[in-house]
Amino acid sequence: MTETATRPAALGRYEVVIGLEVHAQLLTRSKMFCPCPADYINAAPNENTCPVCLGLPGVLPTINEKAVDFTVRTALALHCDIPPFTKFDRKNYFYPDLPKGYQISQYDLPLSLNGYLEFPVGGEAVRCGITRVHLEEDTGTMHHAGDVLQSATSSLIDLNRCGVPLMEIVGEPDLRTPEAAREYLVRLRQILTYIGVNDGNLEKGSFRCDANISLRTPGAQELGVKVEVKNMNSFRAVQRALESEIERQTGVLDSGGTLVQETRGWVEAQGRTISQRSKEQAHDYRYFPEPDLPPLRLDAAFVERVRATLPELPEARARRFQEQYGLTAYDAAVLTDTREEADTYEALVAAGVPAKLAANWQSGDVAALANEHHTPLQHSGLGSDGLASLLRLVEAGTINGPTAKELLAELYVAGGNPEALVRDRGLAQVSDTAELSALVDAAIAANPAAAADFRAGKQQALGQLMRAVKDATGGKADMPLVNRLLRDRLSEQ
């Protein structure tokens, strides 16, 4: 209802201003400031902890260099500047999932500044500025016996996640619609996963988004009263929450009310945001330079070394796929959606599969199987090498399309060597013209009515004759050849 009923109206009367803050966990092996494993999902509660991430008295942090590397890599992918001097700061607040009573973060001298992200929305290119990308540590997680901490009879704390490297990507308030916000996130996540710094999982919270949104009269220079929206666990939730918030803010403004600066939480089940914290209740985080960590100096040589490790980014790769392999823009986008997808495609082509054939199969049947089994090709029984063998058999005419489809579905799960299977099961396509001609004659003889219909101009009648030939070969007939032979024979006389 929100999409159709309110959005266009709101967009007409008010200009929507949206800026997003993304928190992305880095895929480092160890935590940000201690050697504990960063894997908090596959560990028993509080298993991956040590005196440092438990915040015990007397401990000190040490910087995970890989996390710095990953953050610089991200910043470079987002066209940011990397200042030569950066430092960590303490953000002070009390909460049971923050054992030190402060989070080590970055305040006034972040690792990077002034980047941008470009992406299409409804066919138009949008550029959103990136204010900064900085590095900090994640908190622990809590499990309440009750809905929230305040009303819980007891609460359990798991500090496995505490200290996991977290990157904060702050976007400029350059977004004007909820769709643009969604597309920004889709493209940002794609880049992060491409460069291998984040797994992009919104549901599990390794990629999290908060949104700042305000309305103003079109043409106004000053920003309206800002509301921060939290608790959105999917791209769809971000879009819906922003739509709902536009509707709410429009309602307040239209009725002559004033908006208050506050933090609101998205309640998925109710499809609306509810107030969590007003400006007056906002924390004073008392940021100050982290005295336990000396400032970091990142020289140009380091930045260039990191830049050299950057892979080709999705947008550039899609452009190249169009040029190099003659793919459509759509196919190129689909095949570069993830780095694995694009790598698979290029592996198929390198293994001798024609570009168009590889594209059709990969984005068609293979994608469907991956979806059905929740298993990407790389982790399937077939693998990209097996797929290449199978498609080479198709290209060589050794097997026909339907046989290839059946084999693909079977091998995807069970694995095996396509060539050996075709040989052992005698699945090779029947493409001997003499043999097929005889079967074509037999089919015409057995289906005189269909033959007559076809001759009378009824094209659909050919299907019955095709099926007859196909059945006669146990499904192995070279169907394009059968089609040609049938037409030739029926057009004789």
Partner: protein
């Protein structure tokens, strides 16, 4: 063996006239004799010490030549230093019963050298204080006069060496907390350059100022302990990676030809006349040894105290946030989280800690940060630059360690008068320079200390000057009444 030096005991251990077990037994017996009056210990770690003494005995027997001079030597640790499995309270109620699951780096280096930990010493709560009266576990008596304070915050570590119980101990110095109690108890106390000794395992008061250092009876002993604990630690990012030069190599090089500066501001109106007399006599001794003395100026000294009382509380307000009752130490159970936090911290912290947490919270607050914390950081840089400028003209600075001798317990109830105790020690913390206090006289039977400060990383020079002075005098050899209590 009471009141012996490390050097003497190391020789005795090697010539067979004593054993680590015998030294330990002597130390514990001396604790038993004196503790009622001194209250220097928060815990005696007998089991740990016995195991360490036995291990040291094996090392001494197997490798008498290569064993560290600290092997088998009894010592004590300020209770802000973490030892695996041993109660570590930082002198606070809030950490009652806390046993760290790890041992700090400096302490581990002593353990690796074979030193024997007799116990954990009393101190001002979280090292905040200059008299050890802020300990949640009662004040420490000064072995020269138990009605008087031993200084602080490392009062227990100073007192136990002054009482002759152990030949050395570790303390921590954030604004003078090693040097001032050393002066007030007539022992040697050394704060190394910031970054020379790892802070890993030191319960933080003010991270950018805290530094671990030794208390000893002689400067030579001090150099040996320093050599054992100094050096880079990958677990402390503020520890310096440069190699440590051997302080014993230049210890006896003397001060002939050295230029020593006397900061005009360090002998201000607050200096007691007796302290001034003793220190000026010390200057003459140094001149007699061939040093040239000149007056220098550190003009920001008067504001350094204000700077210190912004930066140290700011850092402590953050460092002490972890004492929230959630995971360790004391918790006051309350139905709501906020009430639990408030009641736990109200019950767990003493007044001085609360005062500094509030000062620091205020100084960092939105709207006040620029006026206080940022301004303080700028002046801190200025203080540091003034030291740099002075060290262009002199090799080291000499001054009193404390404007006064040990004062009676309870006589400084006004926080500001207590803060004045550190007025000549805390600039070295702000600048990160090394500083030592060495005994230089007595006023009415109470010890006076001479402070020596050198540029950052010139720790060996500090020890060299102090050693030259010490060897020309015999103040260090005078024993407190508690060091001569017979068995």
């Amino acid at each position: 063996m009471t009141a012996s030096t490390i050097t003497q005991l190391a020789a005795a251990l090697r010539d067979g006239s004593t054993t680590p077990r015998a030294l330990l037994a002597g130390a514990i017996a001396h604790v038993d004799r004196t503790e009622n009056d001194l209250n220097a210990y928060l815990a005696v770690t007998r089991e740990l010490a016995e195991a360490q003494a036995d291990a040291a005995a094996h090392t001494l027997e197997a490798h008498p030549e290569t064993a560290s001079p600290l092997c088998g030597i009894p010592m004590a640790l300020k209770d802000v230093l973490c030892v695996n499995g041993v109660d570590t309270t930082a002198g606070s109620k809030i950490l009652r019963g806390f046993k760290p699951p790890y041992t700090g780096t400096a302490v581990q280096r002593l353990f690796d050298a074979g030193a024997v930990c007799v116990g954990k010493t009393n101190c001002d709560e979280f090292a905040m204080g200059s008299s050890t009266e802020n300990s949640a576990y009662g004040p420490v008596g000064n072995p020269w006069d138990i009605e008087r304070v031993p200084g602080g915050s490392s009062g227990g570590s100073a007192a136990t060496v002054a009482a002759g119980t152990v030949p050395f101990s570790l303390g921590t110095d954030t604004g003078g907390s090693i040097r001032q109690p050393a002066a007030l108890t007539g022992v040697v106390g050394f704060k190394p350059t910031y970054g020379r000794v790892s802070r890993y395992g030191l319960i933080a008061f003010a991270s950018s100022l805290d530094q671990i250092g030794p208390f000893t009876r002689t400067v030579e002993d001090c150099a040996m302990v320093y050599a054992a604990i100094a050096g880079h630690d990958p677990r402390d990012s503020t520890s310096d990676p440069r190699a440590v030069d051997d302080p014993l190599a230049s210890l006896r090089a003397g001060v002939a030809g050295m230029r020593l500066g006397i900061p005009r501001e360090y002998l201000g109106a607050g200096t007691e006349p007796g302290v001034r007399d003793a220190v000026e006599a010390a200057f003459r001794v140094l001149e007699g040894l061939g040093a040239s003395l000149q007056e220098v100026s550190l003009p920001s000294t008067d504001v350094a105290l204000s700077v210190y009382y912004i930066i140290a509380p700011a850092e402590c307000s953050s460092n002490l946030a972890r004492y929230d009752g959630v995971r360790f130490g004391v918790r006051v159970e309350r139905p709501s989280l906020t009430e639990m936090y408030l009641q736990t911290r109200d019950a767990g912290f003493g007044n001085e800690v609360k005062r500094r947490v509030m000062l620091g919270t205020y100084a960092l607050s939105s709207g006040y940060y620029d006026a206080y914390y940022r301004q303080a950081q700028k002046v801190r840089t200025l203080v540091s630059q003034e030291f740099d400028a002075v060290f262009k003209n002199v090799d080291a600075i000499v001054s009193p360690t404390s404007p006064s001798v040990a004062f009676p317990m309870g006589s400084r109830s006004d926080p500001l008068s207590m803060y004045m105790c550190d007025v000549v020690t805390l600039p070295a913390n702000l600048a990160g320079t090394p500083g030592i206090s060495v005994p230089c006289g007595f006023v009415d039977g109470l010890p006076v200390g001479l402070q020596v400060i050198a540029p950052r990383f010139e720790d060996s020079r500090v020890l060299r000057v102090a050693h030259a002075y010490e060897q020309a005098t015999d103040f260090h050899a005078q024993l407190s009444p508690y060091a001569t209590v017979a068995a």
